[in-house]
């Protein structure tokens, strides 16, 4: 069993993260991963050049770790890996990698689903979209909270 939760200040390489997870998952039968990208357009339809993620020096990393550990305890998975960007993420670049490995596929699918639903609402970031029209703070939507709440 391993749980890895990292806050990445520079570029996030999903291939590298998958390789790390695959190395740890030797002997498992399933790896499921999710890669989130910074969207080039806001919900209001404005062009977005970059997402800027402010973070807390201690609590942000702790929130990633807490969510990853809760995931590992809840699902029948052998490895959980979460890597999240902070700082300025240009549109189109990876912002989050969430992965899990397990003996059989269902647990890994559920684990990654759970990771993302909690990260989207509880990870300690203050996020704003920056584009030609200025800068706009982003908060979780009602749908994001509903997704999180279905896990009880």
């Amino acid at each position: 069993m391993s749980v890895v939760a990292l806050l990445e200040q520079h570029a996030l390489d999903p291939q590298l993260e998958l390789a790390e997870l695959a190395e740890a998952a030797h002997g498992d039968g399933a790896i499921v991963t999710f890669v989130g990208l910074a969207r080039p357009e806001s919900k209001q339809g404005n062009a977005v050049d970059a997402l800027v993620l402010d973070h807390h020096p201690a609590l942000t990393r702790q929130s990633l770790q807490d969510i990853a550990v809760a995931c590992a305890e809840r699902f029948d998975v052998s490895h959980v890996r979460v890597v999240h960007r902070c700082g300025t993420v240009p549109a189109g670049e990876p912002i989050v990698f969430a992965g899990a490995a397990s003996l059989h596929r269902r647990s890994a699918f559920d684990a990654v689903n759970y990771l993302m639903d909690r990260l989207k609402t509880e990870a300690v970031f203050w996020k704003r979209e920056v584009g030609d029209t200025g800068s706009a703070w982003v908060e979780p939507t009602e749908a994001d909270f509903a997704d999180r709440d279905r896990w009880g």
Partner: protein
Amino acid sequence: MEMELRIRFYGRLADAIAPEIELATGGCSISDLRSRIASDFPAAEAMLDRSRACVGDCMAGDEQQVGDADVVEFLPPVSGG
């Protein structure tokens, strides 16, 4: 030089006030501090009301006393990842 309480803000609060300010309080509660900041920065009052206070990386209730050697942080609701 007299020591002043350092107060850090994140997210919208950092935008509305500053990432960090210093105040000489002589000791007060978090609740008192909220009132003082709201009075100095009225545009930030509504967001301050929705924000959690944090001292030494632990959440702090409004009744908690802080001194001028402390660092108090105010965390608005998070955006998530």
